[in-house]
Amino acid sequence: MIEALQAMASVVLDPYLIVLILLTTIMGVVIGVLPGLGATTGAALLLPFTLTMEPVHAIAVLATIYVSATFAGSITAILINTPGTAAAAATTFDGYPLAKRGEAGRALGIAVISSTFGGVFSVIVLCIAAPVLARVAYEFRPPEYFALALFGLSMLASISAGGAVRNLIGGVFGVWLATIGVERTTGVERFMFGNYELYEGLSFVPVFIGLFALSELLVQSKRVNEVVDAITLKAVKLPTREDYKRIWKTVLRSCGIGTFIGVLPAEGATVASMIGYSEARRWSKNKEEFGKGAIEGIAGAESANNAATGGAMVPTMVLGIPGSGTTAVILVGLMVHGLRPGPYLFTEQVDKVYQIFGAMLLANIVFMAMGLYAAKLFARISLIPLQILWPIVFALAVIGAYALSSSLLDVWIALIFGVIGFLARRHGFAVAPIAVGLILGEMVETNFQNSLKMFEGDWWRILTQPLAAMFLFFAVLGLFGSSIVSGISRLRSKAD
């Protein structure tokens, strides 16, 4: 424990890392306020820039982008009624009405404080929960990992964007993408069509750049003629004692909700903020104020979405299962930099893990300062014309896709997945399930094969393993839980 604290504290003794966190927080806030460029796209675009960095610095950069962009989405949500990130969508419900009443500074102050509280709370939970979970995960063998990966995939059914069936189709497509390349045990080439650059499979980075950045470019092209109605901001105001009295319970509740939702595989800040907001409304004494500028609404959504960032890092680092779209990119970052996610990370490279946690903690404090003193400036950035911004994103995307392995094939992959992602989104399919499926694909297949070997071909014996059976039960619950609940309530209403 003392070693862990020392490692976390060492972050403040590394001037290079501090400068990096400062710069990345600025970049993260800029990414967060620019509509369309969320934390996931930002992390995917910045990943190639971290290639020459030390592993801790690289992951700290990506984690800082994650926390700062998640917060920054609230700035435009409050000032121009356009959430900079999907996670800030719930903030518009009350943030914008409050800003329209001339209280933009107060709304932003509450968003900044609630986000910081949520972020710090979740990093503390991360520091405590991750090593405990890692100790449990030491006992995991192929059947448990297989069941866990299936559980992660089943959770795609419940993420908000897209319907359950469409998300699952996306997830299965992602798992199939992971089968491209040479099958490791037998050496059989699968779906390579003679292209030997695909020998080791599809690289994650170009696929992610295509799915998140280039597909978003095509989506944003529909918005070029939109006129934005901006609200002027004088200064961000810290919440008053009365405000604190009104929001503290909401903030605490949303911190718990956000962290828990974040820990669940494939769920993320967007789901957390929606649930945080609706719970804030449910427990509030001033329900009638919601939608008209209730400060509990802003606090509930903002503390939940930032609490989800630390929570989502738990399964990512301990089990190698992404807790959200952005942590899927961070997971790839860990792999690219030679930090194999999993329980052994917590014994073999524990100092690095805690340095990353320390960097996340510092990033939360830095974005609070920026939110309080520079929100006005950042809000102006959001007004950069789309016709200038997105061609720049195009350049960053194609060069980023190329840079990782100096391969032109990766550029084509990014462009193709940009179009695939756009067409998918056009027809109501979310792209995050494809990314999660791609990451979990190898884990599912390899561990299923190893389980078959363990049980001499009897696949059903996976169910005899208590932990694996428990994860599979949760997977079934994740797939059919909502149908079962709605079926029961329909039967009840019929009986009444």
Binding site: G187, R190, P391, I399, S406, H427
Partner: protein, 151 residues
Amino acid sequence: MRIFVIPGVVAAFSLAVIWVALQLDVSPPLIVGDSMQPRVFPILLMVINLVLAAFLVIQYRKSPPPKVPWEGFQTWGSVVLFAIFFPLTVYIDMMIAIAVVMFVMCFLWGERRLHVAAAVAVITPAAIFFLFDLVLRVRFPRGLLTNWYYG
């Protein structure tokens, strides 16, 4: 009819993958052992997707998907630019290709000040090129400009 389009695309893709998977090499039993043939897992996945596509039809029958409005020329023009980027990179130069695509994209999306579009199209790739070349030590593919730069 509209309700069958997306499930139909999913089903057609799944069947195509199953067909390709069936053409894959069969590994000797000695190597595979108690595990499964490399073709089995992808086929299993696509069977799941076929079932999901059937569910999607049922879902769409209950609540048909909204008609997707056709996007403007900015969107489809950008897709065409993605396609043009390929031959430009292969036959001319990657940096020139990026600059051309950026310039046309700026213009297509409504930037009518040509000097602004030109500045964005020249400065951005140049800045990114030098950052990657000098700091990150990434070598870009050979082309008109890179041949001249690398010598």
